[in-house]
Amino acid sequence: MGNYIVELENISKSFPGVKALDQVSFTLKSGEVLGLLGENGAGKSTLMKILSGVYIKDGGSMEIFGKKVDFLTPVTAQKMGIAIINQELNLCDHLTVAQNIFLGRELITNGILSDKHMNAEAHKILEKFQIDINPETVVGDLPVSKKQLVEIAKALSTDAKILIMDEPTSALTSKEINNLFAIIKRLKAQGCGIVYISHRLEELQYIVDRVMILRDGKYITTMDFKATTLSEIISYMVGREITEKFPRVEEKVGEEIFEVRNLNAGRMVRNISFSLYKGEILGIAGLMGAGRTETTRAIFGADPKESGQIFIDGEEVRIRRPMDAIKAGLVLVPEDRAKNGLCTKLSVKENITLPNLDIIASKLGLVNRKKEEKITETSIKNFDIKLANAEVLADSLSGGNQQKVIVSKWLARNSKVIMFDEPTRGIDVASKVEIYQIMNDLKSKGIGVLFVSSELPEILGISDRILVMADGKITKELDVKDATQDLILEYATKFDKKLDSRQEAIEA
C-alpha cells in the first residue's frame, strides 16, 4: 500500500444527462507508467481532470502523496506536483513558447517580468527534452505537432512528480513519439508516476508497466502489462472480442470516378495528379507537414488553387469553394475536429444537419423537423455515438465521439467521393474498426474513398493503393501488396534526407 502516490476511491462524476464516472477507484505508484485505457467516452479524461483539479468530483475520496485532498484546483494540483497534458491543446496562441511554458508562474526579478530569464530557462527545458523549437516563437505560428510538444514541455517544466498525459501523441510524428518515450523512461527512472492515455495501443508495449481499463464510466480491471495481451485489453475495453483490427473487403476495381490533374496550391501542394477508381480505397501516407491536408483542402475548395483540373465521373468540375465541391458530390472530413470539423456551440443535431440542410429544407428554406430528426437518429445509430441526446452541445462529447459526429454528417448525404483526413485520430479501437467498415461499405457501394492517415498500420491495413507524399509532392505510388512500412517511410522522408545532406554540407 505504502508506495501509492495517488489513491482515488469510488470517484463519481455526472454531467447533465451522463454519468461520466461511476464509483471509480484508481491508484498510481511512483516510478510506474500506468496506461489508462477505454473506449471514447469511457471517462478517462474526466477522471484525470478530477485528479488535476479541473473538474470537481461529485463523490469519493482522494489521497495524494498520502494526504487526504478534498478540494483541488488547477493551482493547488500544480503545487502538489501534478501536471497534466490535456487532450485538447491548451496554449495561448498569441504568446511565445517560453511565455506559455511559464504562464501562471512567470519568473520575476524585482517585480518585473524577466523574459530573458524565461527564454533561457525554456531553452534549457526544450533542449533537455530534445524538443527543437525556438522558445521565442509565437505559438500561433507553430504547426499542431510542435504545439503539442510545447504542451508537453510545459507540463515537464513544472518538475511534477505525477504526470498525466492525455493522448500526447495524437499529433506527433514517429520521431517525436520516440523522443517522448525516451523522456517518459527517464522520468520514470527518476521516480515520477505517469498516467498515459492513448488510443494507439501499439505504443503501450514501449513504455507501460500496468494498465487500467474503464468502460462506460466504470472501473473494469487493472493488469500488469506483461501478463496480458493486446487482444485481452481490447476485449476488456470493448466488452466483446474484436476479431479483425483491419477488416478488408476485396472489390473488383472498376472505372475511374475521380481524377486530379496537375494541382498546384501554395508550396505544400505541388503538381499533384492522381486517379481514384470505383471499388478501391486510396490511401495517402506521409509525415506531418507533407502537404496532405493542404492537398485535400485545395481539392475541396477550402483553400485557393493556383492551377489544376478536377474530374468527377470523367467530367471536369470547377471547384472554387466548398459549396461547389459538395454540389458535385465531393466532400471532406477534415482533420482537427475542434477547429475545422465542428461548430462546438451548436447541438449535435445541428452539426450533423448543417451540411445537409439542402436535403432537409424545403424549397423555401423551411427546415423539415421530421427529416432532421431522422437523419440525426440514423447517424447516431450507425456510428454508435455516445451521448445523452442529440440536443447536447457538440463540445460536451468525448473527443472520439466528436470525431464520429464529423464523419457521420458527411455520410448523411449521398456523395460520390469522400476524402477522409485522419478520421481515426483520437478514436478508440472499436470505433476505428467501425470507421474502417464504413469506408469499406462506401467502397463496395462504388463511392470513391480517399484516406489520409499518418498511422502506417491502418494505411497498410485499409487502403488498396497508397500514395506517399513528402514536401508537397507525391513521391511514390504503391500497390498495397508491395507496400511495407519501411518502403513508405523511405519515400515519406525523401525531403528530410535532402535537408539532412544539405545541412551536413553546410556543417562540413
Partner: protein
C-alpha cells in the same frame, strides 16, 4: 551549428544578440504600429502643406492636449480589449466623473477631496464591470451596456438633472492642474497623460498581471488551467479603464469649469477606434499601448487637420470612419500575406537543426 534556409539564418550561439531587433519586431502588433506610424507621419506632412499654421508650436501643443482624452480612454479600452472583452461604459463613466466632481466642488467640497471621491466612484463602476463579467459570466457587451446606462443615469441624477454651475474660484488650482497649467512649457494635461501612459505601459508589458491580461485574451481555458486568476485579471483591466475614464472626466470638468451631463458621449467608441487603429485586436490577446498612442494621434490629427482644412463635421466623421476600416483591413491583409510568406519559407520546419535520434 548553422542552418541556412531561404536566406533565414539561425545561429544558436549568436541567437541572443541577433534576436534583439527580431524580438522588438515580434512584439504583439508591432507590425501594425509601424505601418500606422508611417500613416501618421504622412498625415502630418499633408496637413502641414495644406496649412502652414498646422505645424506651429502652438497648434502642436493644442493638438497634443486634444489627443489626451482619446489616448487616456484608449489606454483603458486597450487593456480591456486585450483580455478579449470590451468596455462600453467608458463615455458614461467620463460623464459621471465630470458631474460628480463638479457637483461636489460647487457644493463647496475641497476640489482634491472631490477628485478622490470621483476616482473611488469610477473605480467602483470598474469593479462592477469586472465582477459582472468574470464572476457572473455576463457577456462583456451586455454588462457594460448596462453599466453604461447606469453611469449616465448617475451623471444625470447627481445634480438633479441639471448641468452644474461654474465650479468657481476655489477650484482654480484644480483647473490649473488638470487643464490650463503648463509645466516645462507643456500643458499639464499632456504630462498627466504621459505619466499615466508610462505607468500602464510598464504594467502591461513588464509585469505578471500584464502577461496574464494577454493570456486571458488569447486563451481563457489555457490560462485557467495554468493557474491564472481569470476573475481578478479581467477585473483589473476594467478598473484600469475606469481609472482612465475618471481622469478624462476630471480633465473635462477642468476644461469647461463646470459639470455637463452628457460629457464623454461616444468616447468608448473613439477609444475602440484609437486602440484598433493602433493594432489592438478586438478578439483579444494582441496589441501594445504604443499602438494606442499612434491610433489616438491619427484620430486627433485627422480631427484637427480636417478642421483646419475647413471640412465640416460630417465630412470629418466620414473620413475618420473610413480610416478605421482601412487600417484594420490593412492589418488583415498584412497578416494574410505574412502567413503565405511563412508557408513559403517553411514555417513547418523548425528553427533548430533537425535532430537525429536512434531508437
Amino acid at each position: 551549428m548553422k542552418l541556412n534556409k531561404n536566406g533565414v539564418t539561425w545561429e544558436m550561439e549568436k541567437g541572443k544578440k541577433q534576436s534583439k531587433l527580431k524580438r522588438i519586431m515580434a512584439k504583439r502588433g508591432m507590425g501594425q504600429v509601424i505601418t500606422v506610424t508611417i500613416g501618421l507621419v504622412a498625415l502630418v506632412i499633408v496637413f502641414g502643406f495644406l496649412n502652414p499654421y498646422f505645424l506651429t508650436g502652438r497648434n502642436i501643443s493644442n493638438l497634443l492636449r486634444q489627443i489626451a482624452p482619446t489616448l487616456l480612454t484608449g489606454i483603458g479600452q486597450s487593456y480591456v480589449l486585450i483580455t478579449g472583452n470590451i468596455d462600453l461604459s467608458i463615455g458614461s463613466v467620463v460623464g459621471m466623473s465630470c458631474m460628480i466632481s463638479a457637483t461636489l466642488m460647487t457644493k463647496g467640497v475641497n476640489p482634491w477631496v472631490a477628485v478622490i471621491i470621483t476616482y473611488l466612484a469610477a473605480l467602483f463602476m470598474g469593479l462592477l464591470n469586472g465582477k459582472l463579467i468574470s464572476k457572473a459570466k455576463l457577456p462583456a457587451f451586455i454588462a457594460t451596456l448596462g453599466t453604461m446606462t447606469i453611469a449616465r443615469g448617475i451623471a444625470q441624477i447627481v445634480n438633479n438633472n441639471y448641468n452644474t454651475d461654474s465650479i468657481g474660484e476655489a477650484a482654480e488650482g484644480f483647473m490649473e492642474f488638470f487643464y490650463y497649467g503648463k509645466t516645462l512649457g507643456l500643458f499639464n494635461t499632456i504630462w498627466i497623460t504621459m505619466f499615466i501612459w508610462l505607468i500602464f505601459n510598464f504594467l502591461l508589458s513588464r509585469t505578471r498581471t500584464g502577461r496574464h491580461l494577454y493570456a486571458v485574451g488569447s486563451n481563457i481555458h489555457a490560462s485557467h488551467l495554468s493557474g491564472v486568476n481569470i476573475s481578478s485579471t479581467i477585473t483589473k483591466a476594467y478598473m484600469v479603464s475606469a481609472f482612465c475614464s475618471a481622469t478624462v472626466g476630471l480633465i473635462t470638468t477642468a476644461t469647461s469649469g463646470m459639470g455637463t451631463m452628457d460629457a464623454g458621449n461616444g468616447y468608448e467608441l473613439y477609444a475602440v477606434a484609437a486602440s484598433v487603429i493602433g493594432g489592438v485586436s478586438t478578439l483579444g490577446g494582441q496589441g501594445i499601448l504604443l499602438g494606442t498612442v499612434i491610433g489616438a494621434s491619427i484620430w486627433g490629427v485627422l480631427q484637427n487637420g480636417l478642421q483646419f482644412a475647413g471640412a465640416p463635421v460630417a465630412i470629418r466623421n466620414i473620413v475618420i470612419g473610413i480610416i478605421v476600416i482601412i487600417t484594420v483591413l490593412l492589418d488583415i491583409l498584412v497578416r494574410l500575406n505574412k502567413k503565405a510568406g511563412k508557408a513559403k519559407t517553411g514555417a513547418e520546419k523548425s528553427h533548430f537543426p533537425v535532430l537525429k535520434h536512434k531508437f
